[in-house]
Symmetry: C2
Subunit: 556 residues, 2 copies
């Protein structure tokens, strides 16, 4: 078939009504086929062995000469050859009683056109076989044997445009139901509602000529179809590449991976947003970050470490930026001379990631853009990275930002609206969506942040820290900086922040710094989901997660 | 110095009493030095700028020509050159008022001898400086400037035997306390007691001539020193390599990484050993395995996936084999023709890991063996992998195992003592510590295990499954097999196992199989901590974890 179900193609955009009719027709056809199949014998149908419901398809079913290939690996060298292909039947269209078209899909978005045509010559394809194949429900898993041919014209609706499969055998390995909870076309539309509310939101149809779009709830209730959509396959592939680039950049620079625990004995970093659970008669907590454990690795002589793993926030925030469980990419390293060594490694790894996915995931990024269009993500030219001090950033916001921020102070933390406004100013002034805000005032950082004694205080005499945030498209993706490595200084800061140095968790943390000499060190934590979501300009971080966790959603 | 603190060297084994005396002397010396230092002025000491407590050491403190190097990177090309080295001061020994020896250590177990000798020629080293350097507490972090020279004889006590550092500057960057909670020598002794009981166990000294050994509790209470020990550095490095080999083998074969959630909405896989927690007015659970989510990835068209992440068991088992949180290495893949495709990938990845670490981590393995000696881990010759069916294994145990297992049945699960006895038989018969037990009876497997309809039932007519366990040194390290992929078959098995298909978690799981066609698939889960621990023959899996979690221990 040459119509496409991709939402960007007008030709392929079918009306919802037509779809419903088609589904009904298919169901009817399937019922007829089931009735007919019960009476089929070898005498009735010379092709009876070439199709049917088989559950598993061993090589015995196929021709000896047929080679099993993946759709993504098919190329011109296969023309004229007989191949075996396992794939999802994405769509089918009856041309006549003797002929029908299929779309087969595998490996994310690798689709190819299949043709099944009645033939009285070997290999025999009966009309009954054509009818049976055309009755297979979309999103069923099939194995076909086919001859690879060159189509008369490129098949625009399929990723493999220059080849088609002339099917001579077709076995149904796993059948989808006749009515899917969400079709692939709908699954590949932009999500219209990210609310977690259980109240029925209804899936909307923008206008009668387009494929209807669904809510995030419908997507999650149809998790398999959600995942099968080309846009989600592309996002998942990009996410994998981000992790891979993170790891390889750091390993090349001597960083060693480690696994911090999730279960911890105390709500050590501020008790507000922490999950608590009963633990053999005591209480346990879920780690909000690997912060303390990264520092223990440094104290333990591991020099440069990174971790990739889940972190938890019991925050009742139902926004597109929040999840209760997300993946942290964390690093910690010894500092030789200056905390800028840490800042440079973190800036380096993020630029490596952004440039790496631009290069390696161009197709996947294009697939995402086709569903969720966004402005290209601007990166600074090498050597022209944008690093503003907190005070410089606030000045920029006062002078060039919107009027409501004309009086922002250098000694108070930025709000989310301020961050967004600053991002706009930075983008138009420096032509970058990625930048660093450095030297945060101590009021805006936790007790372990190292104060810069050499810097001039800001605002009402507030000291600044060797700590920074990184931003992507106006939103924070990383927090980091130098940590206090001296036990005496650390205890003083803990007290100054109003925390009891003898409280659970803090006591054990301080004890490590007292127990041995700990060298200067620093690090940072990156939110993987946010990096993926904001780089791609997605409307919600939930789209970048495999199984988003929110205050109202724990399944699937 | 040429004495070694390594426990294998008799020469270096110091008496505990001598140690205590030395500590007392050091403390006294440090006090004297502190008093003296208060009066030091440039006039008093021509070398005053060349040493001292600096907290941070910028390049301004060092000679322009000095190059900063890592101890592990030092080689003959550095002889005669002036270098800057940052390292832990591992030990020091005063030779005279004019001369002393140091051991410096970095990057795990890379140690080198340092010499500080009074000199009136440039660069000037004063007697006061020698005394001050000798007073630095062991395990402090220092930066030294030194000339690299060739020692008269190889320094057997250091890993870098062929070089020594003639120190001309020495700055203390982070001071250890005068009395460590656990010395490095003790930290590198085999742990004598793995009990988690809070009752004082006391750290024992086997006899008066050896370095005393400590309990696991003492190790965990001194986490930084525990980690700094060469044996723990080696175990951590081996663990990293296991993960890296796992990932690279699978990525080369088209597997894609994903992250299953830890927080789940239902105790889906048997409710006994699951942690529960309050979740915004509802209840949440911590995942016991990524099983369901791996299968959702297959249903979602991801074809071949793997995950590396934490799993949780609320099991009150205080043994050397159990932890409440551990790292799972999981895979799941589509099956084309047979579940043996899954078995072969899993066997392949484990052999790749075992052979890979033997090759890449020879030094680290030797370091572990020097503390925890064990029989070499035997691997099968390529093509001679040992795969027994469950029935064959039980037969072997009946016929060649100890008499108490003369009546084990083919239709009942193996106990841990049975597994151990079988491992002994397999090792002596097949000369391997790694083997597969396949075709477990359905009574011993969860509801999702696929039954082999073609196999003869065992025992009292119990059917066998396409499921297997892998063993290393008699202990299970992997469970895997083919899963049921048809919703009707799955529901029937769920019912047959006495589980309500409408119960929380199960209902949503079944719904996925009903919602789309899911191809044949299978997979397995490997316990990373166990693979490391049993490969190395460690006495407890807790030694292979970074921060072991047990029913009685959640810190550090």
């Amino acid at each position: 078939m040459e119509e496409s179900t991709a939402p960007t193609s007008k030709k392929g955009a079918k009306k919802a009504e037509a779809k419903a009719k088609k589904e009904a027709l298919k169901a009817q056809r399937a019922a007829e086929l089931a009735a007919a199949a019960a009476n089929v014998t070898l005498e009735d149908d010379p092709a009876a062995e070439s199709y049917g419901d088989r559950r598993s398809a061993t090589s015995l079913l196929f021709s000896h000469a047929a080679e099993e290939v993946e759709i993504r690996s098919l190329n011109e060298s296969h023309i004229g050859k007989t191949v075996i292909v396992r794939a999802w039947l994405q769509n089918s269209r009856v041309q006549s009683a003797k002929m029908g078209f299929l779309e087969l899909r595998k490996s994310g978005n690798w689709s190819i056109q299949g043709i099944v045509m009645a033939s009285e010559e070997e290999p025999i394809v009966s009309r009954r076989m054509v009818k049976w194949v055309m009755g297979i429900n979309p999103e069923s898993f099939v194995a076909v044997e086919a001859k690879v041919k060159q189509p008369l014209e490129p098949i625009k609706s399929c990723r493999v445009e220059g080849l088609e499969l002339h099917i001579t055998k077709c076995y149904l390995l796993a059948s989808a139901p006749s009515m899917l909870g969400m079709t692939l076309a709908v699954a590949n539309q932009p999500i219209v509602n990210f609310s977690d509310d259980k109240a029925p939101v209804g899936d909307v149809q923008a206008d009668k000529t387009t494929v209807p779009a669904a809510s995030m709830l419908t997507h999650l209730d149809n998790i398999a179809m959600h995942k099968r959509s080309p846009v989600q396959q592309a996002i998942a592939d990009i996410r994998i590449e981000v992790k891979r680039l993170f790891r390889s950049y750091l390993e090349d620079r001597g960083f060693k991976e480690f696994e911090p625990p999730c279960l911890i004995g105390a709500a050590s970093e501020g008790g507000g947003n922490v999950f608590r659970l009963p633990y053999f008669g005591e209480e346990a907590f879920l780690a909000q970050s690997p912060q303390f454990y990264k520092q223990f690795e440094i104290a333990g002589g591991r020099e440069r470490v990174f971790s990739i793993g889940p972190v938890f926030r019991a925050e009742n925030s139902n926004t597109a930026r929040h999840m209760t469980e997300f993946t942290g990419l964390d690093i910690e390293m010894e500092i030789k001379e200056s905390y800028t060594e840490v800042r440079d490694i973190l800036e380096g790894v993020l630029l490596y990631i952004f440039r790496g996915i631009q290069e390696r995931c161009a197709d996947a990024i294009a697939a995402v853009q086709s569903v969720y269009p966004s402005e290209p993500f601007l990166l600074p030219e090498p050597g022209k990275e944008v690093r503003l001090t907190f005070a410089e950033a606030q000045k920029l916001l006062r002078e060039e930002g919107p009027p409501e921020f004309a009086n922002v102070r250098d000694d108070e933390d930025m709000s989310t609206p301020q961050e967004k406004a600053l991002g706009e100013v930075v983008r138009s002034k420096f032509k970058t969506d990625f930048y660093v805000i450095d030297k945060f005032p101590e009021t805006a950082r936790p007790f372990y942040a190292k104060i810069d004694d050499t810097a001039t205080p800001v605002g009402d005499g507030v000291r600044v820290t060797n700590a920074f945030d990184f931003f992507a498209r106006n939103q924070e993706i990383l927090s980091g900086g130098q940590r206090i490595n001296d036990a005496v200084e650390l205890e003083a800061r803990i007290r100054a922040k109003g925390v009891d140095p003898d409280s659970a968790g803090i006591k054990e943390y301080l004890a490590v710094f007292r127990s041995v000499g700990v060298p200067s060190h620093g690090g940072g934590g990156i939110g993987l989901d946010r990096v993926v979501a904001w780089y791609l300009g997605l409307p919600s971080v939930h789209l970048a997660a495999y199984y988003p966790r929110t205050p109202k959603r724990l399944s699937p």
